[in-house]
């Protein structure tokens, strides 16, 4: 049922090359989920998210100091090794300092025909940010028009928004299917879908997902214990081996607050008669925030707690990309809030590769602790 999603994820480069061949269109690699894909779809550009390969590498040391997160170095390694040689464009939306180094080094050492640094505001809770971002989106739109030779009319923008919104609706339906007990799909399967969503043409992905969702209610739940329902919290997390391990030893990941997960697709562009770029700006200011943009008040924690309650989680695994300062700044407050709300927490520090054996022991102990009420 999820094989095609898995294939897209595993063969992401072949997929993008075939897409180019088939459509004659341009492919743009992007680094952060604050990138407004609506505008790219409006210009017939395929946006693909740049993620790492989870392999040890030795090519980024001259470019990024080792105190920055392993994820940004893994991403840059993909570029330096030429694995994205088919890219026509490259961009980033301003978020953390770490990942922007992958962009700036890539841009210099593996230049492509179009590159753009979108100055996404940090103070997204200020009404001033919406106006500012609208202006930055106007600049970006003009740059994309110049690059592609396509005028991005309102009609095209409507189409781009519709493509993205439909995909977001479908992803919500998929995640909703994980609310039941047992969930209709595992966390590993959901991860395949949401990662493929960031690599595939959304129109194709939505077709696949619609078909999958139609079949899902009749699906026989995989032969495994329904498992302890878990919430995953943290930065990016596309570590399939970790998800598989957790679900192998008795956990079931039912939802997440990751930028590779819910934060990517959570809210939609609401046009409401507003100028379309303003509506897009509103969407990116209103989305569940990355810690870099969650200030002065802490709104992210409330959102995390709601996820935990709505998906009836029994505990939370908080993952910390090594050296990821924004999340390190949130973790003590997040941990406290989760525990105060009755969600026990396991914190694990991730690197490009994870020590699955050691983590398994810790996850097993955590699951055993969560099950203690049943024992006594």
């Amino acid at each position: 049922m999820f094989e095609r999603f898995s294939q897209i994820r595993k063969e992401r480069h072949d997929y993008a090359r075939a897409w180019k061949e088939r459509t004659g269109g341009k492919v743009l690699g992007y680094f952060c989920t604050y990138v407004p894909e609506e505008i790219l779809y409006a210009a017939d550009v395929l946006p693909v998210r740049i993620l790492g390969s989870h392999e040890p590498q030795d090519v980024t040391e001259p470019h990024i100091f080792g105190m920055f997160c392993p994820f940004c170095r893994d991403c840059l390694a993909q570029g330096l090794k030429g694995r994205f040689e088919y890219l026509d464009g490259l961009m980033i939306a301003q978020s953390c300092l770490h990942i922007r180094q992958a962009y700036t080094s890539w841009e210099k050492h593996r230049p492509v025909e179009f590159s753009h640094y979108l100055c996404m505001p940090h103070k997204v809770k200020s009404p001033r940010a919406r106006t500012f971002l609208t202006g930055e989106l106007e600049t970006f739109k003009t740059a994309v028009e110049k690059w592609t030779g396509i005028e991005i009319t309102d009609e095209r923008l409507h189409e781009g928004i519709a493509v993205m919104n439909k995909s977001r609706d479908l992803m919500h339906r998929l995640y909703d299917a994980r609310r039941s007990d047992p969930p209709r799909l595992t966390g590993t399967e959901a991860l395949e879908v949401v990662l493929a969503n960031q690599m595939a043409d959304k129109r194709e992905h939505s077709e696949l997902l619609e078909a999958t969702l139609e079949r899902l209610p009749d699906r026989e739940v995989p032969e495994r214990a329904s498992g302890t329902r878990l919430l995953m919290v943290g930065s990016e997390d596309d570590d399939m081996a970790f998800f598989e391990m957790v679900e192998r030893v008795g956990g079931t990941i039912v939802t997440d607050d990751h930028c590779t997960g819910t934060r990517y697709f959570w809210n939609k562009v609401e046009t409401n008669g507003e100028p379309l770029l303003r509506a897009i700006a509103n969407r990116y200011c209103d989305r569940p925030p990355c810690p870099t943009k969650d200030w002065e008040a802490r709104d992210r924690i409330e959102h995390v707690l709601k996820l935990g309650r709505d998906w009836d989680c029994k505990g939370a695994i908080v993952i910390q990309q090594k050296f990821c300062d924004p999340h390190e700044l949130d973790i003590p407050a997040t941990k406290k809030a989760l525990e105060d709300a009755g969600f026990p927490v396991l914190i694990l520090e991730f690197d490009v590769t994870v020590p699955v054996g050691q983590f398994q022991i810790r996850v097993e102990a955590f699951l055993e602790m969560l099950g203690a009420d049943d024992l006594f």
Binding site: F65, T104, P291, D325, L329
Partner: protein, 438 residues
């Protein structure tokens, strides 16, 4: 470099005044409540002229230089960091931030007594840690009102009305917020005065740095650390702007008379990022080889504002007053203030390390630099951002580079012996031996 020159040296006449200004700043922050005044806390890059409009009895504490002061006190420094770590904060977070939190948690003020709690927080945000720093402060002290201005609106060469509007809009909102939380009526004349002070102070500091192009250099970087810091404390204060003018005149005089910072100057270096504050003797060690660090983008551009002069070289930025900009209203002065700050050299690499490389190479050329020491500073992700790319660019431009790893505020991450060994090797690379009489 075979002949060893000898230059006259003498102490700076205004040295003690700089120390006094710094001491008074921290004492005033502590004691201002006795006079019914207000205290605010924020970063060294906070747009400090804005709260100045609340009255003359307003004192600030800027967090980075405060933490650097603690870093120099090794015993207190480790106590503070351990206090923050006990609360669950990761050891690889900004060492200034951990130190500051620790000082708050332990309720120990580095200048005596308990930590003086601010009435409000007025912060800026360009580094990931800036606003989050004070978000954590409000986790610890939950009743401190907190406002932060997002200044990450893009690099100087892309400034447009949209970017300036963003900063100005936030500052206007901030002024309303300040009035609301303090109950005071805001005085635009004080704002205008403070902005003018800041334009003056930061331009004159750039002028002082430009005077260091002279050979021999009238200032060495270790001394500059004690001078530039005033601009990180209160760059909007008349006392700082006035002091920098006095210092500028003295440095000019030193240049005219050929007075050197280092007696046997025969090799000129620049450094990068904050130094390991507990180990400034590294800079003194260099003097034994006749090497002087004439500055860094950090000491120059953290507060200094530069521009390209008609001859193509870097010099002090023309102030809005000298440029005839109308500064007569709140909105007008804030526009000038936003535009001025968006040109800050040390804000540019947040968008691209290549912009910083260009500035560093410019410094190497114009300040006649022979080599560069790059502090790969584990304590500051903001200023260490892109440093590896800077290294590559400097090497490509033909400048020898010494990278050394450390931490500005966490001595547990600085290996003095290893660093000294690397310094020796670097000096050898530059064909320098110790000067017998140094």
């Amino acid at each position: 470099m075979s002949e060893i020159p000898t230059y006259p040296t003498e102490p700076l006449r205004c040295w003690d005044k700089a120390k006094e200004l710094r001491r008074r700043y921290y004492e005033r922050y502590r004691d201002i409540k006795d006079e019914g005044g207000l205290r605010w806390a924020g970063g060294a890059w906070s747009l400090g002229a804005v709260p100045a409009g609340l009255g003359r009895d307003v004192a600030s504490i800027t967090s980075e230089p405060y933490a650097a002061s603690i870093a120099f006190n090794k015993e207190l420094s480790i106590q503070c960091m351990e206090a923050a770590e006990k609360k669950g904060f990761a050891r690889d977070l900004c060492s200034y931030m951990r130190t500051y939190w620790g000082s708050l948690i332990l309720d120990k003020y580095a200048f005596g007594g308990p930590f003086p709690k601010p009435d409000f927080i007025w912060q800026d945000h360009i580094c990931c840690s800036h606003a989050k720093w004070y978000q954590v402060v409000t986790d610890i002290e939950t009743d401190i009102p907190f406002f932060s201005v997002d200044v990450a609106a893009g690099p100087a060469h892309e400034i447009n009305d949209n970017k300036i509007d963003y900063l100005v809009g936030q500052m206007l909102d901030g002024i309303e917020w300040l009035e609301k939380i303090t109950g005071r009526t805001y005085d635009d004349e004080l704002l205008i005065e403070a902005c003018k002070n800041e334009f003056r102070a930061t331009s004159v500091w750039a002028e002082i740095c430009s005077l260091n192009k002279a050979m021999p250099a009238p200032l060495d970087e270790k001394s500059m650390f004690s001078l530039y810091v005033l601009g990180t404390l209160e760059k909007h204060a008349a006392s700082v702007a006035d002091f920098y003018e006095e210092l500028r005149d003295e440095v000019k005089d030193r240049v005219d008379r050929g007075v050197a910072a280092v007696k046997h100057e025969r090799c000129r270096l620049i450094s990068d990022t904050q130094p390991p504050w507990g180990f400034l003797k590294v800079f003194r060690y260099l003097e034994q080889f006749g090497a002087v660090s004439v500055g860094s983008l950090y000491t120059f551009g953290l507060i200094g504002l530069f521009e390209i002069k008609p001859d193509g070289t870097w010099g002090p930025r023309t102030t809005p007053m000298d440029a005839g900009v109308d500064l007569s209203s709140r909105e007008k002065v804030l526009r000038a203030y936003a535009e001025w700050n968006l040109h800050k050299p040390e804000w540019q690499h947040f968008y691209s390390p290549h912009l910083k490389s260009e500035m560093m190479i410019r410094m190497c050329k114009e300040w006649n630099v022979d080599g560069v020491m790059l502090h790969y500073n584990r304590g500051c992700e903001g200023l260490t951002l892109g440093i590896a790319e800077n290294r590559l660019a400097l090497i490509e431009a033909g400048y020898p580079v010494l990278p050394f790893e450390g931490n500005m505020g966490d001595e547990r991450e600085f290996d003095l012996a290893k660093t000294m060994d690397r310094m020796d090797s670097f000096m050898e690379t530059l064909s320098l031996k110790k000067v017998a009489s140094a």
